[in-house]
Amino acid sequence: MSTALVTTLLHRVILRQWRLAPRATLLLTGILALGVAVYVSIRLANRAAVASFTHFTDTLTGQSDWIIQAPAGALAESVLPELRRALGARPVHVIPVLEATAAAPAAGGDGGRFGRPSYTLLGVDLIGVSNLARSPDGVGAYYGQSTPDRADSAEAADFWAALRAGPQVWISPEFAPTPPRQLSIVLDERVVELRVAGVIPSAPEAPRVPANLMVMDLASLQRLTGKEGWIDRIEFIVEAGPRQAEQRAELAALLAELGRDRWSLSSPGARRESAEVMTRAFRLNLTVLSLIALLVGLYLIFQALDGAVVRRRGEIAVLRSLGVEESTIRQVWLAEAAVLGLVGGTLGVALGWLGAQVSVRAVGQTVNALYFGTTVNQANLSVSEALLGIVLGVVTSVAAGWWPASAAARTPPAQVLHRGSAPAVGARWARSPMIAGGCLLLAVACAQLPGFPLPGGGRFPVAGYAVAFLAIFGGGILCSHLLAPVARLASAWGRRRAPACVALSHLRQPSGRHRLAAAALHCAIGMTAGMAILVGSFDQTVRNWVQRTLQADLYIASDGAQTANAQNRISADAAAALAAHPTVAAANVLVAWRIELDGRPTVLSGTDFAVLQAHMDLPWIDPPPAGTAFIGKEGPTPVVVSESFTERFDRRSGDSVRVTTSTGSRDLQIVGVFADYGNEQGSILLDRSHLVDWFRDTSVTSVSLWLQPGVDADTVRADLLAQYPGLSVLTNSRLRAEILRIFRQTFAITYALEIIGVLVAVIGLVLTLTSVLLDRRDELTTLRALGFSRHEIAVATAIEGTALSAAAVAGGLALSLGLGWLLIHVINKQSFGWTLGFALPWGQLAALGLLVTLAGAAVSYGVGRWGANLPADQEA
């Protein structure tokens, strides 16, 4: 009975309302949709970026049961026969894997721009993998592919010819519609030409072959990379059978027992998880930021529904006097909110999916630059994510509609209220400056709390976000108190102008609606400006850091290294040849080894400290004692660590660290801390001579050259490039520009999220003014009767809107200072471990304030013109 009544009422009261005011309804739905869309798109993009951390071998072999890997460096192939012996008759496939990264050669003119397509070269025994049950067609799948240059006859002879052919590569079917015959790639310092033997075959149930995956026969890749006798990891697959689970566990125990200090044992799932952990802080931050638009939307929906309650008080009173119960009225209003949420949420999911296709690239680029190579370029929507988006829309809408629904239900039946006297929106406490002050105080207190430790490293600044929320809420209340002073201030100017008098009279005693609009706009501006402060500070800090650390004239690395986890190197010979170039005055090298510490990835880097101290100035956070000898062989090796290392591993100057190298464990002693904005996982820096001993490898990751005075860096660069086409040679200015470009790219997406927030708030202003004018239909009629032109009415509204925007801008900018501080010193520090100097981007903040105020003026003028035509008797 009650349900039927709710339905009838919903139909009669709410839907009619929507039909009569389609634009307002549309805007409201749009706001909700936008809020949901931003959240959904970031969520999808995040997931896609992490999902694209492919365990590449899966595509060839199916999921391995176990993986063993040297704790640092490579594994010697000689462990293979030992493993097979130890495994005895156990039905286990043993798959040695070598992985290399490579990049497409630079096209003419892009001058070493970072982020070109990069490839993962997977070296596996292509005969051996044919034994796996999932191999689609045995070895013939690789060595029997018909290519245009081979006839179809004499198949067996062909097989042998294909097997014995020189270095050849199989590429993804998605690499190109028709596979090229030949391919150039940059591997270490060389450009290598490879014959394309065919495409990577895949079984029907196998994961899609990523476009950037290339497969070579193991021996062939070993020769190509100069790693004969070495492999990166060994994967194990227990063959199917009734005791498979038991045998898996036995195998793990056996491998762990055999490995001890020689290798670490993991499962592919754990590796995928570690990719997730690695990027968790970054992704959580994005997710939280993506909720801002929805937060702003919450204000606006609340306000819109409340406006409707107020306008239809008469109807509600009639319904109540006809005997409709309070609970029914509440249900009707909540149902309206739910329907609104449902429609907005659904639209938002669709919009979010579209947005994800764009944002996924931005997220992917950041993950590429900071963490590991990803190939993501599309994000897919799953049913659960679609549902989540819709639920989010409904929950937001219902939460926002709760208070208005209660207000509607409480409307006394006998009371037919005068239409204009809208009572205060929201509870009285929501306007109290005391509460606002309390929120702000609590925020200051919260800001002192440490971040919440995430499993697997890193911390999530829970308190930081709580502070932000409290500040936004408290600031919003305070901001609404700015409306009256702004109005008084403006009165001095507009006392003699009728429209101004009318407009300002409203603001001197602002309605709840005004307050809410101001708070929403304040929230959006505050967050956006706060973000601008963070980015500005970051930019400034990185500029200074680059200024101090980049002193050499030329920086040289393998052109194959295009993502954060690329492993391409320069051979010792090539490095020596570079240093010996006649124009070079001094040279230094850097070698980086990815290692695991406390089960988390970090970087062990070596450089020549003598050259470093003579030519460079590390940006010290905690400098080592003067005269520290970095080369001495006695006792624990002195090292300096990056600031993010101290945050991630909770070790400071004076602490010791034990790392595993390919020749055993080594004890290190931290003697200093330096700033490094290039690596979020932290790094340990020590004299390279140690690393050459420990890893028995003389290759280097990069070379920096100081040229003799008067030598033109560009000329030398051209000369070196001609000699080593596989190297990326960057001049000092080019590298600086490149570093800054990457940092801006990293923040581009967070910026975009804030802009959407402002957009929502401006739309909200339209909505506010619309409903305010609807409430004032009587007054508008009077004004018209008094001789106000439409233009004058519009100007009055514009003044009202502009003043409201100005108050929000003032409050928002004040808030942004606090939020900027919070982002820089709490949230960023806890998430990434980077200390940034506070810098205010004045120009940007002023532009944002001006833009929002002007936008406020423009939209409110438009609303005013619409309001001027509003007939007194139009049903609202």
Binding site: R84, P91, I127, G128, G138, V139, G144, A240, P242
Partner: protein, 366 residues
């Protein structure tokens, strides 16, 4: 679908790449045009060295077949084979291994292939019998008693570790081990066989651990080319009679369906002496493989003469299960190889057999 690596086809095709036959001289060349050794009549073997691998030859296999019995009376057919084949340019070896197990009670037939390059996961030693492919292996553990150890399995579904003790001396088929396979003088092999091996060991089927005993047959063939031009495949049967004698029969089939004159039936008496006897081969029923579409002989009637009595002997070879086809995912050539029982004309079971039928699959192009 292009199944281009045809391991067997590689073997079979070797003949088309071989030099034109110098049949007039009837003496085989010393090497094939690629430089692989060709089996020579009158070769003197030396053991245990010749149980090991002979990399100078192109093709070599160690082929174990037979019947196993559990204490509870359950019966199994077993095949364990290790192949070695060299690249035409002699730049390296590929190792292929096949394992198959028939549970006679259930008719459940398991098989698996494994293909590896010579290296850490596959090897064939040249100084002693020691061949391995992944977790599978065959070693001669006692050169004096010629005792061997066979380790194998089928995925995680079955595994076995068997001790092999020859209960009869090594037999050299053909002319003292030189076995002609056709008119082409290169089409020959060294053919060494342990015709009867007593075995005992552990067999795990599913989750059941069984102790088994049984009798096996082991061939070791060394060649550089097995077939002559115009031959499309072969049928091979080994019979263990209950009276401790054996028969080995191979029938080389030509494209018109007839048998090549090189086809042979050899009796092995209780002391290991061999004697060739004429035979006829009649297919009494056929079985069609649903997987490959190949139509294989199923029940075969072989008529020969008993060299001991000179009397005519009729043997009915009946598979213990029809579905014993190895579908050839890796080797590229499907074939039927399975455990059979042997009955005489009166229907009495007089022994067990293993039958191999190659070249019946439709996609085998020669």
């Amino acid at each position: 679908m292009k199944r281009t690596l045809l391991f067997f086809l590689g073997i079979l095709l070797a003949v088309t790449g071989a030099a034109p036959s110098r049949a007039q001289s009837d003496l085989p060349p010393l090497t094939t045009p690629e430089g692989f050794a060709v089996p020579q009549p009158g070769h003197v073997f030396s053991f245990p060295r010749d149980h090991a691998a002979h990399p100078e030859f192109r093709i070599e296999w160690w082929y174990i077949t037979g019947h196993l019995y559990a204490a509870d009376g359950r019966r199994f057919g077993l095949q364990a084979t290790f192949f070695r084949t060299a690249a035409p340019d002699r730049s390296g070896d590929l190792h292929l291994a096949h394992m198959a197990l028939l549970d006679v009670t259930t008719g459940h037939f398991l098989h698996q292939e494994r293909l590896n390059r010579e290296g850490w996961d596959a090897r064939a030693a040249v100084d002693r019998l020691d061949v391995a492919n992944g977790p599978w292996g065959l070693q001669m553990t006692e050169p004096v008693t010629e005792q061997m150890l066979l380790r194998g399995g089928i995925r995680g579904e079955a595994s076995f570790t068997l001790e092999l003790t020859p209960s009869k001396p090594l037999v050299r088929f053909g002319e003292n081990g030189y076995s002609r396979k056709g008119a082409d003088p290169t089409a020959a092999s060294y053919y060494l066989t342990f015709p009867r091996i007593a075995t005992r060991g552990d067999l795990v089927v599913g989750t059941e651990n069984l102790t088994v005993t049984g009798e096996l047959w082991m061939d070791h063939e060394i060649s550089s080319s097995q077939l002559s031009a115009g031959q499309v495949g072969w049928d091979w049967i080994s019979v263990h009679f209950t009276d401790q004698r054996e028969i080995m029969l191979y029938r080389l089939r030509r494209s018109d369906g007839s048998a090549d004159p090189a086809s042979t039936l050899t009796w092995v008496d209780a002391d290991g002496r061999t004697q060739v006897a004429p035979f006829t081969w009649t297919v009494q029923s056929t079985w069609k493989s649903a997987k490959t579409g190949a139509v294989y002989p199923s029940k075969v009637k072989v008529v020969t003469t008993d060299p001991a009595t000179g009397a005519s002997v009729v043997l009915f070879i009946e598979p213990l299960a029809e579905s014993q086809e190895l579908t050839g995912e890796l080797g590229g050539v499907p074939y039927w190889e399975g455990a059979c029982r042997v009955r005489d004309a009166s229907g009495r079971e007089i022994g067990s057999a293993f039958m191999e039928l190659t070249g019946y699959a439709k996609d085998l192009k020669i």
